[in-house]
C-alpha cells in the first residue's frame, strides 16, 4: 500500500488553480520553467519565489502534503548544493576547513541553484496537484493538435499518457499482491547483497510483466469492441472552456517575464 502522498499526486479541490483551464496551466508552467532561468540576483529570485508562494496559497492544497511529497527531492537539492559549495571557485575564500574550501561564489551558486530547483519543482508539482490526469491529457492533446499537420500524433500521445496514468494504481496494487504472495511462499526481499536482492525480485517482475501484457491485450480488444478508431471525428464529453481567469493567468506570466528582465542585472 502507498503509505505517503506521492510527489504531484492529484488532490481534488475547487481552488482558483483547480478551476483554471488545463491548457492555461500547461502553458503557464511550461513558460514559467523557461523564464525561471532569467533570474540571476536577489530581486529577480525574490519575485519568482513570491509568485510561487502565491500559487501554492491559491492552490488550497495543504502545505504539509506538498512538503511531504517534496521530501525525496530535498536530498537531490542538498546534494547539488553541497557539490556547488565544494567545487565552485571564485570571489574569495569565506571558510576553510581541511580539504573543504568554500568560496563566496560557491555559496551564492549553491543558494541560487537550490532555490531555482525548489521553485521549478514546486510549480511542476502544483500543475499535477491541481489538475486531474484526464484534464491534463485533454489539455495536452488540444495544445499539440496544431502540430498534427506536421505529423505529430497528438491524439495517440495523449491516449498513451492517459492509459499510462490510469494503470499506475492498478499495477501498484498488482505488485503489492504478488509481493505478498511470494512472501507467503517464503521469499526474502530484504537480506543479502545488491545482486541477491535484485534477483529476489524476479518472482515479482516476471508475473508483473506477463499480467501487463495480458492487460494491454484485453484493453486493446475492449477498445476495438467499442468501436475505437483513433482520434478523428471524436467528440468529447468534457469540453474545455477558456475563461477570463485563464487569460489573466497568461497576462501574469507576461508581467512576470517583463519584471524579471527589468530586475536582473
Amino acid at each position: 500500500m502507498i503509505q505517503n502522498p506521492i510527489l504531484g499526486q492529484y488532490v481534488p479541490g475547487d481552488s482558483p488553480l483547480h478551476r483554471l483551464d488545463p491548457r492555461a496551466k500547461l502553458l503557464f508552467v511550461f513558460c514559467f520553467m523557461v523564464v525561471v532561468f532569467l533570474a540571476n540576483n536577489g530581486a529577480s529570485y525574490g519575485l519568482l519565489a513570491g509568485v510561487t508562494v502565491l500559487a501554492v496559497g491559491l492552490s488550497g492544497v495543504p502545505v504539509w502534503m506538498i512538503l511531504r511529497g517534496l521530501k525525496p527531492i530535498l536530498y537531490l537539492i542538498l546534494l547539488t548544493a553541497i557539490l556547488h559549495l565544494w567545487l565552485t571557485r571564485g570571489g574569495g575564500v569565506i571558510l576553510e576547513w581541511g580539504p573543504f574550501i568554500i568560496h563566496r561564489n560557491g555559496a551564492l551558486q549553491a543558494g541560487w541553484i537550490s532555490l531555482r530547483f525548489l521553485i521549478l519543482i514546486l510549480m511542476g508539482t502544483l500543475l499535477t496537484l491541481t489538475t486531474s490526469p484526464i484534464a491534463l491529457t485533454d489539455g495536452l492533446e488540444r495544445l499539440l493538435s496544431p502540430l498534427t499537420r506536421i505529423g505529430v500524433p497528438a491524439h495517440e500521445l495523449a491516449l498513451m499518457m492517459s492509459i499510462a496514468l490510469r494503470f499506475i494504481p492498478t499495477l501498484w496494487e498488482e505488485t503489492d499482491k504478488i509481493i505478498k504472495a511470494q512472501r507467503a511462499r517464503g521469499a526474502d526481499f530484504e537480506s543479502g547483497g545488491l545482486y541477491k536482492r535484485a534477483k529476489s525480485y524476479l518472482p515479482v517482475l516476471i508475473p508483473l510483466f506477463i499480467s501487463s501484457f495480458r492487460r494491454a491485450e484485453d484493453l486493446a480488444l475492449a477498445m476495438e469492441a467499442r468501436g475505437y478508431r483513433g482520434g478523428r471525428g471524436r467528440t468529447r464529453i468534457r469540453e474545455l472552456h477558456w475563461g477570463r481567469a485563464d487569460t489573466v493567468s497568461l497576462l501574469i506570466l507576461a508581467l512576470l517575464t517583463v519584471g524579471l528582465l527589468w530586475l536582473r542585472n
Partner: protein
C-alpha cells in the same frame, strides 16, 4: 496451531486524506484443525483479515496470535509464520513465474531451505494432492489451461506443508466441476492431515458445504459466528449483510410454506435436501 484474533483493527494509509478503516475490533478464534469460512460482501474486510493471519500485514490495533507467534502493532519481524501459514490469493495463477511447473512448485520449499531430495519429494506429493499428472512437471506453466495453472499455484503453496492454509476466493473463475474438485481435494487434506483451513468466499453454498464454522463480516467487523445451519437460519439478516441465502435454503423455505411439519432448517446441500425429500416421500407412501 490455534489462531486467536483480539480487537484487530487495520487502517490503510493512516494519517493521510486517503485513510480508510478496513477492520475495526475484530475478534475471532479458530481452533487448530478447524475449517472456517469467512464470508461477507465485497469490501467487508475479508482479505485484510486473512493477510493478518498470514503475517503479511501488521495490525493498527489489537493483536493476532497464530500458534505461539504473536503479531501486534509493533511487531517487526513476521517471518516466523513463513511456511507455517500458506496463502492462496485470488487468481493465484498470476504469481507463476518459473520455466517449469516443477520449478515453480519448488519455489516455496526451496525458500524453506530444504534439501534437493526433500524438495523433489514435496513437489511430487503436492502435484498428486491437487491432481496434476506427473508428466506435466517439465512443461511451462504458461502453456497450461487456466484450471491447471490454478492447480500449479495451489500446489506451490501446499508443497510447503503449511499447518494453516488460507484461501482467498480460490474458486473464482473456475467452472463448477473445477470448483468442486479443488475444494474437495483441499477438504480431504484438511481431514487427513489435520490442516487448519480458512476459506474466504462469497459463495455461501461452498462455505456451507465444507466449513464447520462460518464467520460473517460486514463493514470491517465480525457480525456473526456459528455453524452453517445457524448462519442460514438468519434469513433476512443475511441480505442486510450483503449475502445471499443459498439456493438450497431458499428452496427449503419455499417448500416449507406448503409442508406440515416443515423440513428442518439445517439442510444445506442439495444432497441433504434430496435425501430428506426421498425419506419423506417413502414415509408418506404407505398411507
Amino acid at each position: 496451531m490455534d489462531i486467536v484474533i483480539q480487537g484487530l483493527t487495520h487502517i490503510y494509509m493512516a494519517g493521510t486524506p486517503y485513510e480508510r478503516t478496513a477492520l475495526s475490533g475484530v475478534n475471532l478464534k479458530i481452533p487448530s484443525g478447524g475449517y472456517i469460512a469467512v464470508v461477507g460482501a465485497t469490501g467487508s474486510g475479508k482479505s485484510t483479515l486473512i493477510q493478518h493471519i498470514a503475517g503479511l500485514l501488521t495490525p493498527t490495533g489489537g493483536q493476532v496470535r497464530v500458534g505461539e507467534v504473536e503479531i501486534s502493532p509493533d511487531s517487526r519481524d513476521l517471518s516466523a509464520l513463513r511456511g507455517r501459514v500458506g496463502v492462496v490469493f485470488q487468481y493465484p495463477e498470476h504469481q507463476l513465474f518459473e520455466e517449469t511447473v516443477a520449478k515453480d512448485i519448488a519455489y516455496g520449499p526451496r525458500n524453506l531451505g530444504l534439501s534437493d531430495k526433500e524438495v523433489a519429494r514435496r513437489v511430487e506429493q503436492a502435484m498428486n494432492w491437487v491432481g496434476l499428472p506427473p508428466e506435466l512437471s517439465g512443461r511451462s506453466p504458461f502453456q497450461l489451461s487456466g484450471g491447471q495453472m490454478r492447480r500449479v499455484a495451489v500446489a506451490g503453496v501446499l508443497a510447503m506443508q503449511p499447518e494453516v492454509l488460507v484461501l482467498d476466493e480460490p474458486t473464482a473463475g473456475l467452472d463448477p466441476a473445477g470448483r468442486r474438485e479443488l475444494l474437495s481435494r483441499i477438504h480431504s487434506l484438511h481431514r487427513e492431515r489435520g490442516m487448519t483451513v480458512v476459506l474466504v468466499s462469497h459463495n455461501m453454498e461452498e462455505a456451507a458445504r465444507y466449513a464447520d464454522q462460518i464467520f460473517v463480516m460486514h463493514q470491517g467487523t465480525g457480525v456473526f459466528e456459528g455453524t452453517p445451519a445457524a448462519v442460514f437460519s438468519r434469513g433476512n439478516q443475511l441480505e442486510e449483510w450483503g449475502l445471499e441465502v443459498p439456493e438450497v435454503a431458499g428452496l427449503t423455505n419455499r417448500l416449507n410454506e406448503k409442508l406440515d411439519p416443515p423440513l428442518p432448517a439445517e439442510l444445506l446441500t442439495l444432497e441433504e435436501l434430496e435425501r430428506e425429500i426421498i425419506l419423506r416421500w417413502k414415509r408418506g407412501r404407505p398411507r
